[in-house]
Symmetry: C2
Subunit: 161 residues, 2 copies
């Protein structure tokens, strides 16, 4: 190991350089996704939701009776974080925990009419947020982007298997 | 509020439905990005790194003297999480904290030769991981995907401003 330098130079004032990261698709995807979701987060900031809470509520709406473990896996969050999200959704009376008919130890989630109304409002905000960005593209370009991303997702799943 | 139902139905056995999320680009981007980064995470699992640690090291390499706050902002992580990442990079002797010449209260980060060697090895793993997926696309398709994502990123930044 070299001797540690006590003084290092300052980062370039003109902004952070991406270096080799700039060559990788994964980085470009993450950057766009972070920006898009940041714009949406700002649009629904007044709700004061946790990260992942909107997606969780949308999945509960689409899958009545889904379990907390399934939600954690699908949203890509730790089970302990999902418990906090579901607690908050219950406190807001947007969703409720029931008991599974087939396995009584398993909590199953469902959305309330109030939760559905708020979810609809947030989906409208998401449509506006994405709409502003999509205006910069033709319908053909957007379809192509969807197709490329879906093909890539399928290849990722194959590569992982 | 409606009365809470004590028993909810089970989620469909055939898998979780995406519902309205499936119509949104942000969701498709996140899904592909999660899969791609999951494959890479598996490839470098033996290092036992924290989430964001590879990206942090890559940014330190590209920006000698960068501050912890700049890293936190650029990687999109909380400052307290960035402290843990930088602590770990120092413990591994992959990076070292120095004092900024212009602001002595500000820690500035630099990579060590050992850190650079490990970073090169991880970039090689990233090239392999993305290469497997990129084989399913023509060069023209990949260039188009990069161009669409970069245009979208620029539009997101404009929309947020």
């Amino acid at each position: 190991m070299p001797a540690r330098q006590p003084v290092a130079i300052d980062a370039a004032k003109e902004g952070v350089k991406l270096g080799r990261l700039d060559d990788f698709l994964g980085f470009r995807l993450r950057r766009v996704q972070n920006s898009l979701s940041g714009n949406f987060a700002q649009a629904i900031a007044s709700y004061g939701l946790r990260s992942g809470e909107f997606t969780t509520l949308a999945l509960v709406a689409a899958n009545p009776g889904i379990s907390q473990n399934e939600l954690a896996r699908e949203v890509g969050l730790d089970k302990s974080v999902m418990v906090l999200i579901v607690d908050d959704l219950e406190k807001r009376e947007w969703a409720f925990r029931g008991r599974s008919k087939t396995d009584r130890r398993r909590h199953s989630l469902s959305i309330t009419p109030a939760g559905q109304a708020e979810l609809d409002a947030m989906f409208a905000a998401l449509e506006r947020t994405e709409g502003i960005v999509e205006q910069g593209f033709s319908r053909a370009e957007l379809n192509l982007l969807h197709e490329l991303l879906d093909r890539m997702h399928a290849l990722c799943i194959d590569a992982a298997a």
